[in-house]
């Protein structure tokens, strides 16, 4: 806090100090005379950005970085608001993968292929599917990937051993995965997964044709009655019929308790969950886990962070903002540092040769799982995004619940979903 001599003389109220502090801060050198970049982010991306500031200072000692961090949803709401009016846009905007698609369609973000950004020259340095995730329908690349979330299957080795299920049995095919689940339930009583929805979420991603989105096709036609949805629903129903899912939602007390007690045998998730399990969700289960590739050679992405520049951001700062983004995403050291401290799996290909990947992970019983996850990034394919994807997800989840809880027929459920989606596909 700043000293203010004589401040109390004027107001003598509780608001004297903050008001004066604000006034003085506005006049402090560094805020007005030198340039400053504003970076809007959310936890834990804010830590990653802050960690990059020393490196930035070496390159541009006169340019300060101000990090404005908000809660995850609040941040994206604030960004939506700012983009809608083009006021007070940050110089650099962090976006999570779920929102990048939406914002990309909107046209409020700079197309980074254009000068002075010219992402084309560095594009090849990133994991291809991550760049594809930030590409709009018209081919504009609106954001740069900073970290990605390769999908993985985390399994409890002790539970598997007790049930006599081998890893290959578990992952050979999705039907085999479910069958192993039956065995696990019978012998150990543990559930195969947290919720039947999890298997549906992966299975609808298998068999997507190029150019197709998850729920909608290239021209907005509704795809939810296609075979991949039917298979997803059928297997989810199978899981529920055999009582293989614990019916708990992620990030609930029951879910984390399931990990602690070993009543959840596997979890389909992003690689980063291993770090959280180790740190605070279930630290006592260290060593009892292993990471496997998803069954049947499937690959999926769970999360990812991108940095973008808004069209309406202050023009004078755009060149510098681009420099900062390049630093965050192309600097090998910073990417590895974020990986080591925040479990942010790098999107930068040149980091992939680092020995850190071969290091054993204690939580996973000494497995060098990062190698496997690195391999997964090579095979993951980006899925085209449609404006109504968030709505479609809800509708499908609702229909799935009806199939699972009320025994609704799968084909009818999907047809109902298609009907709802068709009405909105063109909005």
């Amino acid at each position: 806090m700043v000293q203010q001599a004589g401040g109390r003389r004027w107001y003598g109220g509780a608001w004297a100090r903050p008001a004066l502090a604000l006034a003085v801060c506005a006049l402090l050198p560094g805020a007005a005379s030198a340039q400053q970049l504003t970076v809007a982010a959310y936890p834990a991306v804010d830590k990653i950005v802050e960690a990059a500031i020393p490196a930035w200072k070496k390159l541009h000692p006169n340019v300060g970085i101000k990090v404005v961090s908000r809660q995850f949803v609040d941040h994206h709401t604030a960004m939506t608001t700012a983009l809608s009016t083009r006021f007070y846009l940050p110089d650099v905007m962090a976006l999570e993968v779920g929102y990048v698609g939406r914002f990309a369609q909107g046209g409020g973000l700079e197309d980074l292929r254009k000068p002075p950004f010219d992402i084309g020259s560095v594009q090849a340095q990133f994991v291809p599917y991550a760049v594809a995730q930030a590409t709009s329908r018209t081919g504009a690349i609106v954001a740069v990937p900073a970290d990605i979330g390769p999908g993985t299957l985390l399994v409890r080795t002790d539970v598997l051993a007790k049930a006599g299920v081998s890893e290959s049995e578990l992952t050979k095919s999705w039907e085999g995965y479910v069958a192993s689940g039956v065995k696990i339930k019978r012998t150990t009583g543990a559930y195969l997964m947290a919720h039947a929805r999890d298997i549906k979420n992966i299975l609808i991603r298998i068999g997507i044709q190029p150019g197709e989105g998850l729920y909608f096709g290239k021209d907005g036609e509704v795809l939810v009655t296609s075979p991949r949805f039917v298979r997803a629903f059928e297997l989810a129903r199978e899981v529920r019929r055999n009582k293989l899912d614990a019916k708990v939602s992620e990030w609930s007390n029951e879910w984390s308790e399931g990990f602690k007690r070993g009543t959840l045998a596997t979890q389909l998730t992003g690689a980063w969950l291993a770090g959280h399990l180790n740190n605070w969700l279930a630290p006592d289960t260290r060593g009892k886990w292993r990471a496997l590739q998803l069954p049947e050679g499937a690959f999926a992405a769970y999360g990812g962070t991108f940095f973008a520049i808004a069209r309406g951001a202050p023009a004078a700062n755009k060149a510098l903002a681009w420099e900062f983004i390049k630093l965050l995403t192309l600097d090998r050291e910073l990417q590895l540092q974020a990986f080591k401290s925040q479990d942010a799996f790098p999107a930068l290909l040149s980091t992939y040769g680092d020995p850190f990947f071969e290091q054993p992970i204690a939580f996973l019983g000494g497995q060098a799982a990062r190698v496997q996850w690195r391999e997964a990034t090579r095979h993951t394919v980006a899925v085209s995004v449609h404006k109504q994807d968030a709505f479609a997800l809800e509708v499908i989840d609702t229909e799935l619940d009806k199939v699972l809880d009320q025994g609704k027929d799968i084909r009818t459920a999907l047809a109902d979903a298609a009907r709802l989606l068709a009405k909105r596909a063109q909005r």
Binding site: L83, G108, S249, N253, K387, A390, F391, K423
Partner: protein, 320 residues
């Protein structure tokens, strides 16, 4: 309520200052209301009108917000037509109605007798008891979200433990099953606002003159009779006020279902009130035009219901 003729007795609170205002500041009774209203009116027009008009304008446009203001396109009544044909909109209205009634009615049914009871039977402990009931209103949504997910947890939540101890039977899956989400939300809303209504009714009870009750007792009226013939009628304006607030609040229910269902509305959208659906339309599905149109449809509905309440409860003194 017009009182009898009361002389202007000097009350203890009268300020000792007898500074006379300069002539130009002495207002005539005709001008006074305008002067008194002016700060409110100014603020209202600046901060209340523009959003209102903006929202009205937006209801006739289609707009994806991240494209910027210039991306609005006029579509006439298309948004309204869409809303009226939308299954989810009607579902949200049904949810909202159910929740408004299920959480609103018990609030008042409990708050009135409770306020009367506290008013008459607690002298020293009054603040503590009122405080206990009012505390939920103070709690922030962040804290409520975490606590209630924990309390309503299926296997170990306190709610299920208590129910199990009292009634036995299976543990209820509050947050997972559609049919249970609504009662859970109603319970939270009740928990949060019953104390608020108790405070309102207590404030109103304090304005009822004691002599009315003394006279009634001398006439031989019992407690229950006094409650129905003195207390309730005197509380009518406050009941009107409180019920109107509950209706408005109930129809706009947003926070409690939002935090309990993580912003989604829960399984089968059973916890999705219209306000939540509006929010999702605007910020999740990025369809601001439809969201505005729906908010105006909701508005008309609330106006209608408020008007009906007004008719039912109209204070017979003719208002102000």
């Amino acid at each position: 309520m017009r009182r009898g003729c009361w002389p202007s007795a000097p009350s203890a609170e009268r300020k000792a200052t007898t500074v006379k205002l300069p002539a130009f500041l002495r207002l005539s009774p005709e001008v006074t209301p305008y002067v008194l209203m002016s700060p409110f009116v100014v603020l209202f027009f600046v901060f209340g009108m523009f959003p209102l008009l903006f929202s009205l304008y937006l209801a006739f446009q289609t707009w994806e917000p991240t494209s910027g203001l210039s991306a609005m396109r006029f579509v006439g009544l298309d948004n309204f037509a869409f809303a009226l044909e939308d299954e989810w909109f009607w579902k949200s209205l049904k949810n909202t109605a159910w929740l408004a009634v299920a959480s609103g009615v018990p609030q008042h049914l409990v708050a009135i007798p409770l306020a009367v009871f506290i008013h008459t039977s607690f002298k020293r402990m009054r603040n503590a008891v009122v405080g206990a009931y009012f505390l939920p209103y103070i709690t922030s949504t962040v804290a409520i979200a975490i606590m209630f997910s924990s309390l309503f947890s299926t296997d170990y939540g306190v709610v299920n433990t208590a129910l199990h101890a009292l009634f036995g039977g299976e543990n209820i899956d509050w947050l997972g099953k559609p049919e249970n989400i609504k009662p859970a939300i109603a319970m939270i809303v009740f928990w949060r606002y019953v104390g608020f209504n108790v405070v309102l009714y207590l404030a109103a009870l304090q304005t009822i003159p004691k002599d009315l009750y003394e006279a009634a007792t001398m006439d031989g009226a019992g407690r229950l009779q006094q409650f129905f013939y003195i207390t309730l009628p005197s509380l009518k304006p406050m009941i009107f006020f409180g019920v109107t607030l509950s209706i408005i609040g109930g129809l706009q229910l947003f926070e409690e279902p939002f935090i309990l269902t993580g912003g989604r509305g829960g399984s089968d959208q059973s916890g999705m009130t219209t306000a939540i659906y509006l929010y999702r339309m605007a910020f999740d599905f990025n369809d601001f035009g439809a969201a505005s149109a729906m908010s105006w449809l909701l508005f008309f509905l609330v106006v209608l219901l408020t008007w009906l309440t007004n008719r039912a409860f109209k204070p017979r003194n003719g208002g102000g």
